[in-house]
């Protein structure tokens, strides 16, 4: 129990928590949107994120981006990696939907079965990077931690006077990147025609299909959007942690899903709040005790929140206009 450490570094720890929480929140969007539309926990979403980190690594490798290059290379490589990660993640999400969920939907299977195929897909994806690709291509694939080059060098942009708190460029990119993506998504769901379809299906799939909304297309859209957000999160994750691993998705996925439930599953803004709260709680907990208790604290907070607000902090609903 080290409350002094927390109090002394409160500003720094809060910033750490927000950084971590932004990534959770972006991944949580995928869970929340799929849940809102299909009432389904997409278990393979964690691996959609993991694929994104590998896509980032792949892009850097292909264009030969490493640490300490010129500004043009930094911006070009990062943007290209962003695009690649978004495409790879969205593609993976779409493939999961087509292979594991759509056939079950056509059979009207109950939610539990979707969960099992989701777990199955998740294992297949993990093992693809941990085993299959290693057999064919060797390293960096395999069951080890892989370094991702720090193409974007970490620099202090400014220091908050009085607090002695250094704000680095990577933190700014992560926090504002995440928030910008979320605002864009929120805008899309609430204002665009396609977004209206999403909300309609979330509210009442049967009526929506009677009104001419193509349910299959809406579901595909949701998976693509959720996947793309996970791709963005993947890039931001590599910027912050400079590494990836075949099973990195699992723990991020569990946290992101917890964040989604915490904020109110099916609620886009809830995902943001849930992610940030979870990130901050975790960092605080690992300062007070040690990092091994962070997960326990996160789950205890979740249970407490659900006991007093059974629908999460902001309530659930992708359907309502104020999603």
């Amino acid at each position: 129990m080290d409350f002094d450490a927390l109090i002394n570094g409160l500003d720094r720890h809060t910033l750490d928590g927000i950084t971590r929480g932004s990534i959770y929140a972006l991944v949580a969007l995928g869970y929340t949107m799929v849940y809102g539309v299909m009432k389904l926990i997409n278990f393979a979403h964690s691996e959609v994120f993991m694929v994104g980190t590998w896509a980032t690594l792949g892009t850097y490798t292909v264009i030969g981006a490493t640490a300490g290059q010129g500004l043009g290379m930094i911006i070009g490589a990062t943007l290209l990696a962003l695009l690649a990660a978004m495409l790879a993640s969205a593609g993976t999400a779409l493939a999961v939907e087509r292979i594991a969920y759509r056939p079950l939907r056509k059979k009207g299977a109950p939610p539990l079965i979707f969960l099992i195929t989701g777990i199955g897909c998740s294992m297949v994806l993990v093992e693809t990077f941990g085993q299959v690709l290693r057999v064919f291509f060797g390293p960096p694939f395999g069951r080890v931690l892989v370094n991702v080059p720090a193409v974007l060098p970490t620099k202090t942009v400014f220091t908050i006077p009085g607090l002695d708190l250094a704000i680095t460029n990577t933190r700014l990119i992560i926090i504002f990147g995440a928030i910008a993506m979320m605002v864009a998504l929120d805008f899309f769901v609430n204002k665009s025609r396609l977004g209206r379809g999403v909300r309609a299906v979330a509210q009442d799939p049967d009526t929506a299909s009677l009104m001419g909304v193509n349910q299959d297309r809406v579901i595909m859209l949701v998976f693509v959007l959720g996947g793309a957000m996970a791709g963005v999160a993947a890039l931001l994750f590599t910027i912050q942690y400079d590494s990836t691993k075949f099973d990195i998705g699992f723990i991020i996925g569990v946290k992101a899903f917890t964040a989604a439930v915490l904020g109110g599953i099916g609620n886009l803004r809830g995902a943001l709040i849930g992610g940030l709260v979870l990130g901050v709680v975790e960092v605080y907990a690992s300062t007070i005790w040690d990092s091994s208790w962070a997960d326990v604290t996160a789950f205890v907070v979740l249970v407490l929140v659900l006991m007093f607000r059974p629908t999460g902090l902001l309530g659930e609903s992708l359907g309502k206009a104020r999603a």
Partner: protein
């Protein structure tokens, strides 16, 4: 696939016509064969043994693990198959069972050492196995009630995440509470069931796994017998009614929360029982033996086998435990194959390999409904 279903249904109808005594005799033969399995050495049946090659695993030990996981599957089936609650943290109860017997029964556990020094007992002293059993089951049961009481009022999907969190918390606690659980080092000297000493060695020892297998088999048979009693009583009816329409069931006087909590508690205590057997046979417990993946494996056993049907979940548990052991030479590929198999089996046969008759019907109806809905749209 429908052809297979038709055939199995016809087979079942024919079985229904068999007189009671013949069925009892058949059951007896099956049980006798199960007890004989460790010695199975008649070709070609012996090919199912897992110790044919030098790298193979000991056959009786595999059988023991199969039966332990069958106990798990029967317990989880009460939660998932009968009451319709999604529990993704079942490994937590399994771990609690194993750790309880280790913490109270092992001479090298910090808990026992603390008791020894407090009461001035000898270093040989530990809680006897016979008392560890009710302790282990009670710990799992209490954990089930503590976890279930606040969360069973929540919606089903939340239950999934909260139970998953619970499973992780148990493992993290086991790893981090160094002065209670020995942390990552684990606990050795887990006690074994009492029995007559043969050649100066305890009856249940490491080098004779078939005895452990028989013990687990006896436990399994008792548990199946009890589970069937529950299924064919007002309790089973209440679970079914809750699964079909919880509000209507409550208005018809079914205490929905109470029965859900019972399902959870029963499932938890069976998980604890299985963990106890496992820990005792290993004579060693460590946190890494209870990773969350095991929870998914347990759920997969129930669902692949056919949730709601005891025979189905037994077959699910057998396949998912036995096949990886049989094909150990492909160890590196096992998780990949497991993932592919999960997806393939569930897409081809979402009701599970051997569903209960009621479930099979439900699925047929749902499929027709889904098709009608698609046709309407």
């Amino acid at each position: 696939m429908t052809i297979i279903t038709q055939h199995t249904n016809r087979l079942r109808d024919r079985l229904d016509g068999v007189p009671t005594w013949a069925r009892a005799l058949g059951m007896l033969l099956v049980v006798a064969f199960a007890f004989y399995l460790p010695y199975l050495n008649i070709l070609p049946f012996a090919y199912i043994r897992t110790d044919l090659s030098a790298t193979g695993t000991d056959w009786a030990s595999v059988l023991f693990l199969v039966v332990v996981y069958m106990i798990v599957a029967v317990g989880l089936n009460v939660v998932i198959g009968l009451a319709g609650l999604l529990d993704l943290g079942y490994v937590g109860f399994y771990a609690l069972g194993a750790y309880s017997v280790a913490l109270f029964g092992s001479t090298s556990s910090p808990v026992v050492e603390a008791i020894q020094s407090k009461f001035g007992l000898s270093e040989e002293w530990a809680v006897p196995f016979a008392i560890c059993v009710p302790i282990a089951i009670a710990m799992a049961l209490i954990a089930g009630v503590i976890l279930g009481a606040p969360t069973l009022r929540l919606r089903g999907d939340y239950l999934a995440i909260v139970t998953m969190g619970f499973g992780e918390i148990i493992r993290i606690c086991a790893r981090n509470l160094d002065n209670v659980t020995n942390g990552a080092a684990g606990i050795t000297n887990v006690p074994v069931p009492p029995g007559p000493e043969i050649d100066g060695r305890p009856f249940f020892n490491v080098s004779e796994p078939e005895r452990w297998y028989w013990l687990a088999l006896v436990v399994l048979i008792i548990i199946i017998w009890l589970a069937r009693r529950l299924e064919n009583s007002r309790v089973g009816r209440a679970w079914l009614a809750i699964r079909e329409d919880e509000d209507a069931a409550a208005i018809m006087g079914v205490a929905a929360f109470k029965y859900k909590l019972w399902a959870f508690a029963i499932g938890a205590s069976l998980g604890g029982m299985a963990g106890l057997l496992f820990g005792s046979k290993q004579q060693y417990v460590e946190p890494n033996g209870f990773m969350l993946n095991l929870s998914f494996l347990f759920v997969a056993m129930v669902v692949i086998g056919g949730s709601g049907n005891i025979l189905g979940v037994l077959i699910g548990a057998f396949l998912l435990t036995y096949l990886p052991e049989r094909f150990r030479e492909f160890q590196e590929w096992r998780p990949f194959a497991f993932g592919v198999a999960l997806v393939a089996v569930m897409i081809l046969r979402p009701q599970g390999l051997v569903p209960s008759r009621r479930r099979a019907r439900e699925f047929a109806d749902r499929k027709v409904e889904a098709e009608e809905a698609a046709a309407d749209a």
